[in-house]
C-alpha cells in the first residue's frame, strides 16, 4: 500500500492553520509556520484557491478559508452558473447534431433540466428548463447515477417505475447498466422514457473530475439510432466532445 501523499498532508495543514485564530495569513506567515519553502506553499495555496477552499484578499494578498468549504455538503456549482458556462457548447452541439440539447443535474432523486436548446429546425418547441425527469429511464439520468454514488444509493431497491416496455425494470438490471456506462463513458436511452424517442448523454466534469451534470441530445429513434437501434456513433462523438469541451472550461483534468 502506498504511503501518505505529502502534498495532501501539507494542504490539510494549511487549511487547519487558516481555520485557527484570525483566519487571515500572508504567504510568508503560512510558509514559516509550516516550515515550507515559499514556492511550495504558494503552489499548494494556488491549487486550494482554484478549487475554492481558499480565498485571497485582493487588497492585502492574505489568504483565508474559502466559501466553498462552508458549503461542502451542497452542490458546488450553481445550476445557473453551469448553464452559463455550457451555453456555447450546447448551442454548437445542437447545430452539429441537428437535435435538441439538454443539460441536467441531480435533484432529490430526479433529473432536473437546467438548460434546453431547441432542435435547429425552427419548428415550434417549448423550453423544458425546470422540468423533472426520471433518473433511471433517461440517458442523462443514467449518466448521473453512474458517476454519483449518492444519487445511485438513493434509488430504492426492487422494482423501478416503468414508462415503456424498454424501461430498466430492477435495481439489479440498473446496476449492470451503470457499470457498462462507466466503461464506455456515455449513456443512451432508446425508447426507455417515450416510445419512438431516443437520447444520448455524457458526463460534465468539474475540478478533479467530479461529475457536476450531464449533457445530451434527444430525438426520434430513426434519427438518433442506426438500423439496429443502436445510437449512431457520430452522434455519440458529438455529445462526448461537447461535454468534454464544457468540462475543460470548468477546470476538469483531461481524460
Amino acid at each position: 500500500m502506498p504511503g501518505p501523499v505529502q502534498s495532501i498532508e501539507r494542504a490539510a495543514a494549511i487549511l487547519r492553520l487558516l481555520a485557527q485564530g484570525s483566519g487571515r495569513l500572508g504567504l510568508s506567515e503560512i510558509a514559516n509556520s509550516l516550515g515550507l519553502a515559499r514556492g511550495t506553499a504558494h503552489g499548494i495555496l494556488r491549487t486550494l484557491q482554484l478549487v475554492g477552499f481558499v480565498e485571497q484578499d485582493e487588497a492585502t494578498g492574505k489568504y483565508q478559508l474559502g466559501a466553498a468549504l462552508l458549503h461542502l455538503g451542497t452542490s458546488y456549482l450553481d445550476v445557473n452558473e453551469l448553464r452559463s458556462r455550457a451555453i456555447n457548447w450546447a448551442d454548437a452541439l445542437a447545430a452539429r447534431s441537428g437535435e435538441a440539447v439538454r443539460i441536467g443535474t441531480h435533484l432529490q432523486g430526479k433529473l432536473l433540466v437546467v438548460h434546453h436548446v431547441f432542435r435547429p429546425d425552427d419548428t415550434l418547441q417549448t423550453l423544458d428548463v425546470g422540468m423533472l425527469l426520471p433518473m433511471h429511464a433517461t440517458a442523462m439520468g443514467k449518466v448521473l447515477l453512474a458517476y454519483d454514488a449518492n444519487a445511485a444509493a438513493a434509488v430504492p431497491d426492487g422494482d423501478l417505475e416503468q414508462f415503456s416496455r424498454r424501461t430498466i425494470r430492477t435495481t439489479r438490471e440498473l446496476t449492470r447498466a451503470l457499470s457498462g456506462i462507466r466503461e464506455v463513458g456515455w449513456a443512451a436511452d432508446v425508447e426507455e422514457t417515450t416510445v419512438g424517442e431516443a437520447s444520448v448523454a455524457a458526463p460534465i466534469r468539474g475540478y478533479g473530475g467530479l461529475v457536476v451534470g450531464a449533457m445530451g441530445i434527444s430525438g426520434p429513434v430513426e434519427r438518433i439510432c442506426d438500423p439496429h437501434n443502436r445510437p449512431r456513433l457520430d452522434l455519440v462523438t458529438f455529445v462526448r466532445d461537447a461535454a468534454r469541451a464544457v468540462s475543460r472550461d470548468l477546470g476538469a483534468p483531461r481524460w
Binding site: 445557473n80 452558473e81 452559463s84 447545430a95 431547441f118 435547429p120
Partner: protein
Amino acid sequence: MAERYVMSIDQGTTSTRCILFDHGGRLVSVTQREHKQHFPRPGWVEHDATEIWRNLEQIGPKALAQARVGPGQVAAVGIANQRETTVLWDRHTGIPVTRAVVWQDTRTDMLVEELARRPDAYIVEELCGLHVATYFSAPTIRWLLDHTPGLRERAERGDVLFGTMESWLIWKLTGGPDGGVHVTDVTNASRTLLMNINTLSWDDTLLDFFGVPRAMLPEIRPSIQTYGVATRVVPGVRIAAALGDQQAALFGQTCFAVGEAKCTYGTGSFLLLNTGTEPVRSTHGLLTTVGYQIDDQPAVYALEGSIAITGALVQWIRDGLGLIGTAPEIETLARSVDDNGGCYIVPAFSGLFAPHWRSEARGIIVGLTSYITKGHLARAVLEATGWQTREVVDAMNADSGLDLRKLKVDGGMTANNLLMQFIADVLNVPVVRPMVAETVSLGAAYAAGLAVGYWPDLEGLRRNWHRAAQWLPAMDPRLRAEEYDNWQRAVERTFDWIKPSHEE
C-alpha cells in the same frame, strides 16, 4: 479546402475573446481573457490598450491550438469591438500616450455641457446623427488634447494617432510602427461625432467644432473589406472586417432587411433596428448610426437604443456588494423570492442613456422597507434590464411607426431564463435567442468570411440562423401597467442629482 475556419476577435469592455467558426457558423474553439478596469476617480473608467493587445497575443494562438490548426487554415479574421473607447498612441513607438478612456467614462461632462451650449451646437446632430454626449469619442479626444501637455502639437504633426479599439488592434496586427495600417471602419467612425453620416467621411465642420486635428485620424473604410494582412498573432491571415460590437451583433443575427431588430445583453444593452440605406432621424431619443457597409456598396443604417448599464449592474452586485460569487448566481438569488417586494433599482451609474439622455442623473434604489432582502434586490436588478428594454422599444415603435412583433436577443445575459421571461412579459412580445448566443463574434466572423468569399452571400448566412430558445409573454396586463408606472416614477427620481459645478 485548406482554409477551414474564420476567426473572430471580440474586443469587449470587460474581456477580449477569440473564437473560431466553421462553415456552418458553428463554434469550434473559444479563448478569452479579461482585462483590468481602472477607476482612478469617480466617473472615470480606463483600460490599458497594451494589456489588451498582450491578451490578444495570448488568446489568438491559443484558439488555434485548441482547434489543432495553424494560421494557414484560417480564411480571414474579423474584429468586433467595444465602441467609442478612445486610444491615443505614439506612431513611432507604438505605445499608448495615456490609458484608453472607456465609453462609460464621464470626465467630459462639463466640457460636453459647454459644447452643447454653443450657438452652433445644433450642427452636430444635423451632420453626424448623434448629440453631444460624454459617451462618444470626440469630447474625450478633445479633453485628452487639452489636459496632456504637448499632446496637441504632437497630434497635429501626426506623431500621435487616434483610434477606437479596432483601429488600435488592426494597426498592431499589421505591424505597428513597422508598417501598421491606420484605418477605422465606418460603423466605429459613426460613433465619434466626427463623421458626416451622409458622406461617411470626416467632416471639417465637426473637426473644427471639437478641435480635433485631422492628422491623427484613421482612414475610414467599409466594415467588410480586406484592410491588410496580419504579421502578428495570425501571421499571413487577411484582416477582412471590423464592426462596432453592436453592429456586429446586428450582422450576426442576420438582420439584413429593413425593420429587423436585435438586442444584445452585455455590460450595457443595445437595441438596433435596420432602417435601410437612408439614415432615419429619431425624435424619441434614439441614435442614428451606420449598421454596416459591404465593400463599395451603399451603407446600411440603423436606429439604436443604447442602455448604459444592464450586465454591469449584476457585476456591481457581485463585485461592489459581494452578494453573489458569480454573475449567473443572480438568477439563483432572484428565484429565492417571488417578486421585487416593492423595490426598484435604476442604475444611472453614468447618467441615463436612451431614451432619456440625462447625464446628470445618478442611480437609486427606491421602495426600501425592512421587508426587502437580498433576493428582492436581485429581482430588482434583473427587472431594471427588462424595464430599460421596454423604454427603448417604446421609443423605437414611436420613431418607426411600427410595432415590434418579436425581439431577437443575444449576449451573455440570455443564459438567464428568469430575465428573458421577464423581458417577454414586460414587452408583451416573444423573445427569441438564436443558436449562437455569441452573436457579436459570429457577426464579425460572418463579415470577414463574406469579404474573402468563404461565405458567398447574405442569403447563405441567413440560412445558418436557427432558433435556440423562445420565451412567450405571460404577465397579467394590469400588473404590467402598474409595475411600468412604478418603474417610470423611480426613473424620474434619478434626474437632476448631479449639480453643475460652475453655474454662472
